[in-house]
Symmetry: C2
Subunit: 315 residues, 2 copies
Amino acid sequence: MTTVGVDVGGTKVLAGVVTASGAVTRVVRRSTPGRLASVEATEDAVVAAVAEAADGAELEAVGISAAGFVDAAAERVAFAPHLPWRGEPVRARLEERCGAPVVLDNDANAAAWAEYTLGAARDADSAVVVTLGTGIGGGLVLGGRLHRGFGGMAGEFGHAQLVPDGRPCECGGRGCWEQYTSGNALLRHARAGLGTSAGPLAALCDGDPARMTGPMVTRAAAGGDDVARHAFEEVGTWLGVGVANLVAALDPEVVVVGGGLVDSGDLLLTPARAALRRSLVGSAYRTVPVLRPAALGPEAGMVGAALLAGRPAGR
Amino acid sequence: MTTVGVDVGGTKVLAGVVTASGAVTRVVRRSTPGRLASVEATEDAVVAAVAEAADGAELEAVGISAAGFVDAAAERVAFAPHLPWRGEPVRARLEERCGAPVVLDNDANAAAWAEYTLGAARDADSAVVVTLGTGIGGGLVLGGRLHRGFGGMAGEFGHAQLVPDGRPCECGGRGCWEQYTSGNALLRHARAGLGTSAGPLAALCDGDPARMTGPMVTRAAAGGDDVARHAFEEVGTWLGVGVANLVAALDPEVVVVGGGLVDSGDLLLTPARAALRRSLVGSAYRTVPVLRPAALGPEAGMVGAALLAGRPAGR
């Protein structure tokens, strides 16, 4: 009997066989048909990836981690910016097609559950998980339970307002946290700072801000480039300020930071830890939660979905 | 057998007999000896109030709601700005002196539990409770459990930073939410707006901002005074912005607003609801939590403490 976890992202479907202890024994990748594809084509890709991962073994359960909003009942993908689902009963449909129990959640929740169960927060009772991608994904595990919220919308703290009348956000609001701390924010800071710099970052992008990418900024910062390091300091400081607000409200044992930016390690986390300590009320007189890099990398959503499918009590 | 709830505030001790269904059958009041009194005198006052409330009946349990920081184990009052406790094992000491099981928590948590169990959130699965006093007190009940946090510090969202480099706060930080939404903030807005106004508020305070009090602002606003109404709009708007951030993170079913300011009703809550809807990401496409006034008034802490003592499973 095999449990398969599937992470359905905007560009790829990642499916893997995950053991009860969270080990990944086989992984397959397929490209996602995309936002303009039919719902059926997307579901075909998921079902095919599950079958390929299972490789003929009998399915015990399937966990689906979707890059979109999943409803309170964890039955439907209400909306997904990069996928065609618009309220379809995804869980039930995939359960019928896979012939095994299916559990559905959004990718940030699935990743948070994986980090809590096996990863950077595995020794903690409560954890806030902040995933820095293009924007910010979030998940909360409180007292051993994934906190999904009344409408399944908990963890959307990327759109908390950190700066009144601040930068406009794609969500229609202004001053959202993810405008200051995310892959996009890093790139914006670095582009704005490039000027006439002749450092490694300028060399990587031929002095053209438009050609600059996130990985270039990370590489240049690791190599000591001042513009790139300053961009990490900005993003890290705002990360710490936003985390301090979450800690003031929730007082978790651990805060886990995931996503590609975390590969830069202390470049991001040192200023974040300093800002957290500075911004958190009474930090000299209380336990300041540890700010840890995520441990499971880009497979966290897939692994977490499989773990949720195997132990739905976590819900 | 009688359960007594005690609210130990900066100026008074309120003790009451509370039935299992939350009815208050007898209340006594004593003044609190104050911050400079001895720990023993404070505990004497609590014990005497408990005995007077019980009136000879055998004690089943005592719940203590304290205006201070209570540790993670709910054993000690770590610090209380208006009371002499500084880390004393208050729960065990009062248990010994009362001769009955004692449960201890901070006043905001106790009030949140009361509103959740019997008050404005009694039909909800999860609630965020915001109490507006001099500052902001907060409590979270998530999935039927009081969320106290790893160090007992959850709910301190009054010190979330809402405005970068904003108003200095007594906590040492800047731009804390309670600098914009609280009894003090209301008074500051009204004083700043008084100018040469000849309206009802100016009449109440003889045109002298220093003589203005919170209740004057509430009375004047109810009577249509422009300066007072504008102050409520400011405070209400910031209330809604801060609540939107909590909702983005937690997605509770209900948000309860308590404290004296709530007596002003829609003067405060109408601008708060508008700002919540404006600030909350995707509010047109999701369930926006109801923002309700607290139902239990100033006895909420006392009642909640008694309920926690009677049903410690809520912890």
